[in-house]
Symmetry: C2
Amino acid sequence: MDNKEINLIEEAYIALPKGFKANGVVAGLKSNAANVNPDLEKSLVLDVALVESDVPATVAGVYTSNLVKGHSLTRSIKKIDMGGKMRAMIVNSKNANAAVGKVGEEDAEEVAKAVASKLGCSSDEVLTASTGVIGTRLPSEKIIAKVPELVDGLTNEAKTSHYAEYAMMTTDTVPKEVAARITLQNGQEITIAGMAKGSGMIHPNLATMIGIFTTDADIDKDILQNSLKKAVAHTFNRVSVDGDTSVCDMVVIMANGASGAKIDKDSEDLQIFEEALESLAYDIARMLAADGEGATKFVEIEVNGAKDADDAKLIVTAVARSPLCKTAFFGMDANCGRILTAVGYSGAQFDPEKVDISLSGLEVYKDGVALPFDEDEALERLKRDEIYVSITLHEGDAYDRMFTCDFSYDYVKINGSYRT
Amino acid sequence: MDNKEINLIEEAYIALPKGFKANGVVAGLKSNAANVNPDLEKSLVLDVALVESDVPATVAGVYTSNLVKGHSLTRSIKKIDMGGKMRAMIVNSKNANAAVGKVGEEDAEEVAKAVASKLGCSSDEVLTASTGVIGTRLPSEKIIAKVPELVDGLTNEAKTSHYAEYAMMTTDTVPKEVAARITLQNGQEITIAGMAKGSGMIHPNLATMIGIFTTDADIDKDILQNSLKKAVAHTFNRVSVDGDTSVCDMVVIMANGASGAKIDKDSEDLQIFEEALESLAYDIARMLAADGEGATKFVEIEVNGAKDADDAKLIVTAVARSPLCKTAFFGMDANCGRILTAVGYSGAQFDPEKVDISLSGLEVYKDGVALPFDEDEALERLKRDEIYVSITLHEGDAYDRMFTCDFSYDYVKINGSYRT
């Protein structure tokens, strides 16, 4: 992912690319939220975010694979599929606007209309996203009442842009914002920024996860869609917090061309752009896993030498989902038999007598047999904030990787009372 | 499951059928066990169980689907596949005898030899089972040293028979024993008894679960195998505690014919026998779920109207595995959107706008839309020890059901430090 043409920006925010603005306001949706980290003063109250482009932007999106889809999401998919460009995306937290019937899509449309009216565009140019509790009607009037304040406050400054990120957060404890600047072959500069929310109900094919990228590059929709799809495949789609794939998840990218730099199909510039986008998606994916609900540790599971890509994915998914492995990570217990067990029931085909496993660099299984290892050394490695599990099957060349976290008391606490 | 010919026996134990004896002894494997319920004085120390038949018994077994299999299990599968009858089954807790290489099967064989020598039979007539930590060599010498005491103490009394059950337990908090007496068409009486252990690492296709049934009926091996397979299909194979399928699991039935009653193929007696066996398996399966690690509630998930059996299984599996649903059950939070979400990502095909969900009899979703319900009424039902989730899809006639439990702080506690 290192590339001299890609410069990561330290203070990242969504409105960094030219022609974008953002804001976050308090609509009073979160007032009863019990599980928001009190350290994050802003996240306690901000609940509606807006990202806007001065000119209509080309948009691409990827969505949850869940058969049940939230109404704000369903509406956005339709709008994007219509093929037109977009001026803005409004996101609310605390309420998923899902499973409430026809009225859900109407509520989303009303919210979009209010934004469109204030911005002076068509509601077809406004995307909607909601995240939070399922099955409760969206208090759209509360959101609509705040739209003027939301739009009037739009700036391209860091501070208000951070408000947008805070407003998306539900049980997240840290904001997740990234940005990079790229110099193209002809010397032109473009910027890509991204922000995401998501902490629980996270599993590949998105999750209770909303990701928004902005860029001032000028890219055709088909190319942009393909770039986004590639960027999320092994990043956003390789994060598992609890194995639950939610109904509201989407990652969207808005490209408004404000930099004046056009990125063409099959160009070297496109390659650089895609590398940068995937690199940012990779960073955010790791942030999402590390901030998994109740997480005390970031855990990366990788497999080498699987028979094929399907088997590789089965293996990393099984280990990343296993409550027994995840509680052992929490307990800093080198209970590697549980990892072997998960590999065994993953559904992948392999010879159990050829499996090697290492835990943060310490070999614990060789040829399917447990190795004697120094417990103190193991504990030392498990005490670190990041744990790396590497599984080698010697069956083929396939590799895959998944980002997850441990399962703690706090996961149970957060999710035993999230709704109330 | 009600049948006038089947009489459940209140004080059940494995040695109830004629010609069976059992015992449990202390071999010192459990001395460091931190997570055994201190209320169960016996389970603190007993760690090796033996079930014996005076005459060689016909045996059938079903085993874990995990690609990785423990050595004691692998050995037992081989012995059963050889087709001969069996005199005894020895089970140890605390050590799974898994993933230690060739020496694992040799250790199991040495243990079986010691039992065979003391019983005066071939080691081919002795089954072995181990449950506990994976990747540590079985301390077979400790077990072998106790074999004389184990065999000498064999009786058909309740007390020593209960010892056998206690000796199998790892993180189980209650013993799980069942028995029934059946009167056949000709007036002859047979008895079936069963016992099981299993608490965590439990998921369909067995788990860290060992089940043993005994019966004094005389049944051919093929019939017995078929009866066992049918009995476990929707009972043992529908228990999920944490979605982890372990490497040591087996359910075995020993039929020694000591009652003198022969059960023939396609007979009415076989039907009664199978009903009784499934009824006992059903009871034990529920006990296993209710005693899931850290469980505070038994949860039964059922689906009606699924397109086909595969879809029905996908649905109940997804809900039973969902950490978000299970923590909500723990928190007694009627967060039914999580149930709908799990149904949605299960992989089953259905129309989200036709889904009905009820929670312990309370309708919460109708046609995919959340119904307003009385929160107090919901809490009242969620406070009960047993929670019933019923999902109706209106897509076809398929039904399935799964037994699970909630996810509590104690699950994390037990599994964060199980090994040490």
